[in-house]
């Protein structure tokens, strides 16, 4: 199957038509693309004059204006930057889970979502990079706005092997240090990990002035726990198996799970991180479009 076709559903793309991924906060980048840096520095394109004050760098004095007016003014330039979008894709074993009747596993769904965002970003001539991780960073593709970057992203996603445990906290800390250029960090994960550690990692991203969007990818079975008969739950990521009557545990499980989601949401809220819950039985296009529309509205 064509990789693009595998990860980019026409319906999804149709939904995303006309939407943009825009940075809400100040980002840096080199001049290109659609984003204008608000920084007024000394760069290529003249923007405006300002009166000289003692101490300014005399190299930026506009001598033509001085010749004409005998007043000393400095040139101000606008920098053109492009948005950098970092896609962080959780490829731990838990992401492999796919319940009966669900079309995609969490990983596949996350890959589709990441692919959609990558495509959008590249279409709007911004840069996008990809990091796949589990308990370690498995692959890191540096951001680029080159259209050929798209295929690399797809290939990287195709090569993902969800076999290992998760360790989001340390990974996020590591990446927060390594991702130099500020941008949007879009995380695609089920976040089945230590929540405080994970939130601490996210906080690090925020500390490094990244804008973080957390796409919480969950399977409907994890959300609803619909099991009826006695079931042997085989734990993933080296967790033990459990034989139980799900009906007797349903309420307690849902209490635990919902508390986990609330904790994540609360943590995100506290750090002004966008939290988007993605159910793998949901239309991805609809989910992303909803989020991006809302984001655009807020940004404008």
């Amino acid at each position: 199957m064509d990789e693009q076709q595998k990860y980019l559903d026409p319906q999804t793309l149709a939904r995303l038509q006309g939407l943009e991924l825009r940075a809400r906060s100040i980002v840096e980048g080199y001049v290109a693309g659609m984003h204008r840096s608000p920084y007024h520095g000394f760069s290529v394109e003249f923007a405006e004059h300002r009166e000289y004050v003692p101490g300014d760098d005399l190299r930026h004095v506009d001598w033509k204006v001085f010749g004409k007016t005998d007043k000393v003014y400095l040139k101000q330039y606008e920098e053109e930057t492009n948005l950098v979008c970092y896609l962080l894709l959780d490829t731990s074993e838990s992401m492999r889970y796919q319940s009966e009747g669900t079309p995609l596993s969490k990983l596949e769904y996350a890959q589709c979502a990441a692919a959609a965002l990558a495509y959008m970003t590249l279409e709007q001539q911004d840069s996008v990079g990809l990091v796949t991780f589990d308990q370690e960073i498995r692959a890191l593709l540096r951001p680029s706005g080159n259209p050929s970057h798209w295929k690399q992203i797809l290939r990287l996603m195709e090569d993902s092997r969800p076999e290992r445990k998760t360790a989001t906290g340390p990974i996020f800390h590591d990446l927060a240090e390594r991702l130099k250029k500020r941008g949007i960090v879009a995380i695609f994960s089920d976040l089945f990990d230590d929540v405080p550690e994970m939130l601490a990692g996210l906080k690090h991203f925020r500390h490094r002035r990244h804008e973080v969007v957390l796409f919480h990818v969950l399977d409907p079975a994890e959300l609803d726990f619909p099991f009826e008969q006695t079931t042997l739950f085989e734990g993933m990521e080296q967790l033990p198996e459990v034989l139980s009557d799900p009906r007797s545990l349903r309420k307690a499980y849902l209490d635990e799970f919902n508390a986990f989601v609330k904790q994540v949401q609360s943590g995100c809220r506290d750090q002004r991180i966008d939290y988007v819950q993605l159910r793998t039985d949901q239309s991805l296009g609809l989910a992303l479009a909803s989020y991006l529309s809302l984001r655009m509205t807020r940004t404008n």
Binding site: F192, F233, E234, G235, V242, D245, L249, R250
Partner: protein, 719 residues
């Protein structure tokens, strides 16, 4: 049925099987599942066990509801106050008259019966049956009036007979079935047997078929009702009884000293020494003997008494008192005659000494210097043509010798005579027309008409030089045992009729010829006896009249023929009394019972004769019947003696083990040796029948609802 309780393990087994049958799913959110399990482990375990318990309880409740009869028999569950039909069976056999203390067992049974009624709840109903032979239903339909019922108990009278448990059980069955139909609100049934568990009543010897019926009826009773047996007996009861009292003569005449013999038996385990036995005749003490009786042993007593006057006499033998007095007395009703009158009907009256058919007979009946019976005889001879004109009831015995044939009317008269109690003795001979005999008198005329005990076949002319006494078994010939010199065994017979006894006849062969052919055949007919001798009374067909055995044979024939008159007057408890009334009697018959009570009976017709019968002979003693005689101020009086059958004097009990093993195998019942005054104890033995069943089913339904709720509760989704 209770084996289905094993199904109560089904929920557990299903639970365990379900745990082995599960689906396997990989699960990513294991942390949350494990956290949920950790937090709710205990609650989950409790819920699971509760659910399992409820499901098991449902199965148990349903099984117990279905196995309701078993629950009822355990007596573990107290009654719920529901109306009960209580059927009381009181043993009225005479062994219940035994007095271990100052009160008899029967008195104790009545007291306990009253107690059971007193301790019953309002709404209970009662019926009452006497275990007797035959059983008596005193209160056959449920009585809701305890006071009236207690009156009935107080009026219960002991019988002097035994107890027929099988027949009593049949009546119990009928009463319970009827009560179920008529009084459905009596949802519980309880049957009380108050008895001494005497072996003769409780261990009946029944044939295979009746035994199976009895056991099946008992088993069904045990399933439908709660049976309680209250044992009022004592394992070491001692008892002495008079077993027999008889007179050695067939008939007694006035002025005769009669010999009486009796037997005293010790049914106990202790020797009884110096027991006085008193002879009382007509209310006056006549003699006494003192005997020693070993444990389990018998002692014979011989007594004599001279009866000076003709008429009815009453002889009583009385033993010194012990704990059971009913069998300490024995009675004999004795009609004493002026003379014993014998009629000889000569079928071949020929002049000349010993030429007619009755000549030898009349000599044998009244020998010169005769003693014993012969001395009290008055013999009369008539020709056969005078038969119709003769009142046979004036005679105690009629000998018919070589009578050629009989008319229908003559046959009727002879049959009537037999019914009255007379004795007929037929000697045959040359003149006898066998066809006439068979047609008018023979067995083929039917049980109500026949007179002869056998059919006359062809005349056999073959000499025989001896008779076969057939082991001397027959009473008629018993006196000849060890008396070979009498010549019975060598009696020559040259000619005789071949006699054929019909099948299923009561006729017995007393003596046979050497070749086995019947020679003397007798049969009790009506109240009398008919005896048929295959040869002649004279020397025309046999040398018997010249033989030394002739005289004693004739005397024995007479004695045996007339003994019916005596036997009619002496019966056992439960047997009817009665007699044919001679012509001239009129009106009802008044019968005085041993306790003095007077009852009246109407006379019936037995052919051309008036007769009466009385069946209420449940008490032993002397019964006196009186009937008026036309044209006379003196009524006709007859005495009857009713004696106990001393089988019941054996006080051996059926043990509890024998009761459950032999009498009532597989029957559920309670065996008690006492009865408490405690209401709870009484109540604890009554179990609700159908309502327990209902309670259990309601419980099962409630548990089903609980199970559904618990099932939902433990498997509810997140709110």
């Amino acid at each position: 049925m209770l084996a289905w309780l094993a199904a109560a393990a089904a929920p557990l087994v299903i639970h365990l099987l379900n745990r082995r049958r599960y689906r396997e799913v990989p699960w990513a959110a294991m942390h949350f599942l494990m956290a949920a399990m950790r937090k709710n482990q205990r609650r989950i375990r409790v819920e699971h066990w509760l659910l399992l318990l409820v499901r098991t309880a449902i199965v148990v409740a349903v099984v117990l509801a279905v196995a309701e009869p078993l629950l009822e028999r355990t007596g573990l569950i107290a009654r719920s106050g529901l109306p009960t039909h209580k059927l009381l069976v009181v043993d009225a056999s005479y062994s219940m008259a035994f007095k271990p203390t100052d009160r008899s067992r029967f008195d104790r049974a009545k007291q306990l019966a009253e107690q059971i009624v007193d301790e019953s709840s309002q709404g209970d109903a009662f019926t009452l049956v006497l275990l007797a032979d035959p059983p008596q239903v005193i209160v056959g339909t449920p009585s809701f009036a305890p006071a009236d019922f207690i009156n009935e108990i107080a009026n219960l009278k002991l019988t002097h007979g035994g107890g027929d448990l099988a027949a009593t059980l049949s009546r119990v069955d009928e009463i319970l079935a009827s009560a179920r139909r008529e009084h459905p609100r009596l949802v519980q049934e309880q049957v009380f047997f108050l008895s001494d568990l005497g072996r003769t009543s409780w261990a009946p010897e029944l044939a295979v078929g009746p035994l199976e019926d009895f056991r099946e009826r008992s088993r069904r009773l045990g399933e439908n009702a709660a049976i309680t047996v209250i044992d009022l007996g004592q394992p070491t009861a001692e008892n002495l009884a008079i077993e027999q009292l008889r007179i050695d003569e067939s008939l007694v005449t006035a002025g005769q000293t009669a010999s009486l013999s009796a037997e005293v038996r010790n049914f106990g385990r202790q020797p009884r020494a110096r027991q006085a036995v008193e002879l009382i005749v007509d209310g006056r003490r006549s003699g006494e003997q003192v005997v020693d009786v070993a444990p389990g042993g018998r002692v014979s007593i011989a007594l004599t008494h001279r009866f000076d006057t003709p008429g009815d006499h009453v002889v009583e033998l009385k033993l010194s008192a012990d704990s059971l007095e009913v069998d300490n007395r024995r009675y004999l009703a004795l009609p004493v005659k002026e003379q014993i009158r014998v009629l000889c009907v000569d079928g071949r009256p020929v002049g000349g000494r010993f030429k007619s058919s009755t000549d030898f007979l009349t000599v044998a009946l009244a020998p010169r210097n005769g003693e014993g019976l012969a001395a009290r005889l008055k013999t009369e001879v008539v020709s056969e043509s005078a038969l119709l004109d003769t009142d046979l009831t004036q005679f105690d015995c009629v000998f018919l010798c070589d009578v050629a044939q009989f008319t229908e009317r003559e046959a009727k008269i002879l049959r009537s005579y037999l019914n009255w109690g007379g004795g007929l003795v037929f000697f045959l001979g040359e003149q006898v027309v066998a066809d006439s005999y068979n047609r008018q008198l023979g067995p083929q005329t039917g049980p109500d008409r026949h007179i002869l005990p056998a059919t006359l076949g062809q005349i056999m002319e073959e000499p025989h030089y001896g008779l076969d006494p057939l082991g001397y078994r027959h009473p008629l010939i018993a006196e000849f045992r060890d008396q070979e010199q009498a010549g019975l065994l060598t009696t020559p017979v040259s000619k005789y009729f071949r006699l054929q006894i019909p099948e299923k006849s009561q006729a017995q062969v007393a003596v046979a010829l050497e070749n086995g052919a019947p020679f003397i055949v007798e049969e009790p007919i009506g109240r009398g006896r008919a005896i048929l001798i295959a040869t002649s009374a004279d020397a025309s067909w046999t040398a018997m009249p010249m033989w030394p055995s002739y005289l004693p044979i004739v005397q024995e024939l007479l004695a045996y023929a007339i003994r019916g008159q005596l036997q009619d007057r002496n019966v056992f408890v439960g047997q009817p009394l009665g007699s044919l009334l001679p012509p001239g009697t009129q009106g009802d018959i008044e019968i005085q019972l041993p306790g003095g009570e007077i009852k009246r009976n109407s006379a019936g017709q037995a052919g051309a004769d008036r007769s009466w019968s009385f069946t209420d002979t449940t008490t032993s003693g002397i019964f006196r019947a009186q009937t008026a005689v036309q044209g006379s101020a003196v009524p006709l009086l007859e005495s009857f003696a009713v004696n106990v059958n001393t089988v019941e004097s054996d006080l051996t009990q059926v043990t509890e083990e024998e009761l459950s093993r032999d009498v009532w195998p597989g029957v559920r019942y309670f065996h008690r040796t006492n009865w408490a005054n405690d209401q709870d104890t009484v109540d604890a033995e009554i179990v609700a029948r159908s309502h327990l069943h209902l309670w259990l089913l309601w419980s099962a339904m409630a548990l089903l609802l609980v199970e559904s709720f618990l099932n939902w509760f433990t498997g509810r989704h997140a709110i």
